[in-house]
Amino acid sequence: MTAEAIGQTLIYGITIGSLYGLAAVGLSLIFGVMSYLNVAHGTLLMLGAYASYWLFSLYGVDPFLSIPVVMMTVFLVGLILYVLVFSTLAKLETDSRIKNSLLISFGLMLVLDNLAILFWTADERTVTTFYSGAVLEFLGLRLPYVRLSGLALAVMGILALHLLLTKTYFGKSVRAASIDWEAATLMGIKVNKTYLFSFAISSALAALCGTLFCLSYAVTPTIGEAWSIKALIVVVLAGMGRIGGVFFAGLLLGVVESVSVFFVGASYQEVVGLVIFVLVLMFKPQGLFTMKV
């Protein structure tokens, strides 16, 4: 193990970890706001990845340039899914919301994943641009530009969400509704509207993550499931609380997974995240980065 190898591994861990964080932030947002556990979150990410892929391969639109269109499209998909599928759960108590949303979104994930296989086949799709292989050489490390820009955009996405929630009237109403929806209603906040838009925003962030993912990795219809699990692990790691905590938990998972290659080999890499998931639930179920209220 040379210093370069370790550095290289860390860089890869951080770049993929930032995407884990981005994926988990959306999942955490809707869980925090409306107590929905949306396991179809990864499927929305997959839709974003395919949207970018098709725009690139059919029309030659660069994935970085198509980000606004892809995010808007999946934002709309989120709005429609919420109205058609998830809005009925809002009448339930918190506990029933968690269980029912889990079941509904699981079914939704199966349906959408299989529709994706039907329409787009299970073939691996890759986006290869002229800059795909370009790397930045730095202290003997090779840093691919697409990964670095992915990291930067993931941070920007999370920062934008943070600013939305803390600086705008809408964002404050979302936080208020997540703390006490009844009191929020008494303040004249349309709680259903905050739910609807939180869901759509979470979908758009998943789409952003999907786009950044397709730039470095192959896309298939089944990546949705894998990403839902990653996002879930990160949310459990972080615990409910600050968005920043979710992001750092994502980085942590990415780094631990990458470094574990040295110890358990690449084939067991996936297991490491799940082991951490179980350990955290056993010994610190409130999460590692929880905020005291």
């Binding site: 404050k172 703390i179 009844e182 009191a183 929020a184 209603t185 008494l186 303040m187 004249g188 709680v191």
Partner: protein, 242 residues
């Protein structure tokens, strides 16, 4: 301005209010007193739209409230300070106040409203950047009242605002309430277990027991009535009357 006509309210199959009628006139203070579980909070929640009456009607400035969604009731000028304050505890004091002015009309005047609330509660201003959950009980209650005032209400509903507060704090909260009503711009409907404090504010009072209005008069006359003295003020010669 507020007229409640013979409403029945249920929690599932359980009937909580039976044919309750009550009215509040412009600029008036009306107290609703009664023992625990009598349906006081139920009535407040029904007026603010969190619960719906099965029969009867609620009319506010000529409009049927019982058909308007809760968030629009706030826009129409009714705001409730719920029992226990129900602040957004992990948000700052200032954010709580801003959320009070969420409806479009109130939002336009939120800076003026904020100054007014700071004038009424200087202690709130001193703590404006703290998390609401870190305030003392009395401060939290003041913030809850301030947050409701931010919505520019014509009618303020106050649900058990003295609950759990030290007597001195209760007095100062009631002084503020009296002051809020002084200009007669804001009418008050308050629910209280602290019967004496509530009736001493003046105005009129209703007595509610097991979901029914059992008495109604000028607050002063209620204070002097034998029934109230015995049942609520502990002044009667006989303890209880069952």
């Amino acid at each position: 301005m507020l007229e409640i006509h013979a409403i029945d309210v249920f929690y599932g199959d359980l009937q909580a209010l039976w044919g309750v009628s009550l009215n509040v006139q412009q600029g008036e203070i009306v107290s609703l007193v009664g023992p625990n579980g009598a349906g006081k909070s139920t009535l407040m929640k029904t007026v603010s739209g969190l619960l719906r009456p099965a029969t009867g009607s609620i009319i506010f400035d000529g409009i049927r409230l019982d058909r308007v969604p809760a968030y629009e009731i706030v826009e129409m000028g009714i705001c409730m300070v719920p029992e226990g304050g129900r602040l957004f505890s992990s948000m700052s004091v200032v954010e709580n106040l801003e959320l009070g002015a969420f409806n479009i009309e109130a939002r336009k005047e939120r800076f003026e409203a904020l100054e007014r609330v700071y004038e009424i509660f200087p202690v709130i201003k001193a703590r404006k950047n703290q998390m609401a959950g870190t305030l003392s009980g009395g401060e939290q209650q003041m913030l809850a009242i301030g947050r409701a005032l931010m919505s520019q209400p014509k009618l303020l509903l106050l649900d058990e605002i003295s609950l759990g507060l030290a007597p001195l704090l209760v007095q100062s909260i009631f002084r503020v309430i009296k002051m809020i009503n002084d200009s007669k711009q804001i009418s008050l409907l308050l629910v209280e277990q602290n019967v004496r404090m509530a009736l001493e504010l003046g105005g009129r009072g209703y007595i509610i027991e097991t979901g029914r209005i059992v008495g109604h008069d000028e607050a002063q006359r209620l204070l002097e009535s034998e029934k109230v003295k015995k049942a609520y003020l502990g002044l009667g010669e006989v303890q209880g009357e069952n």
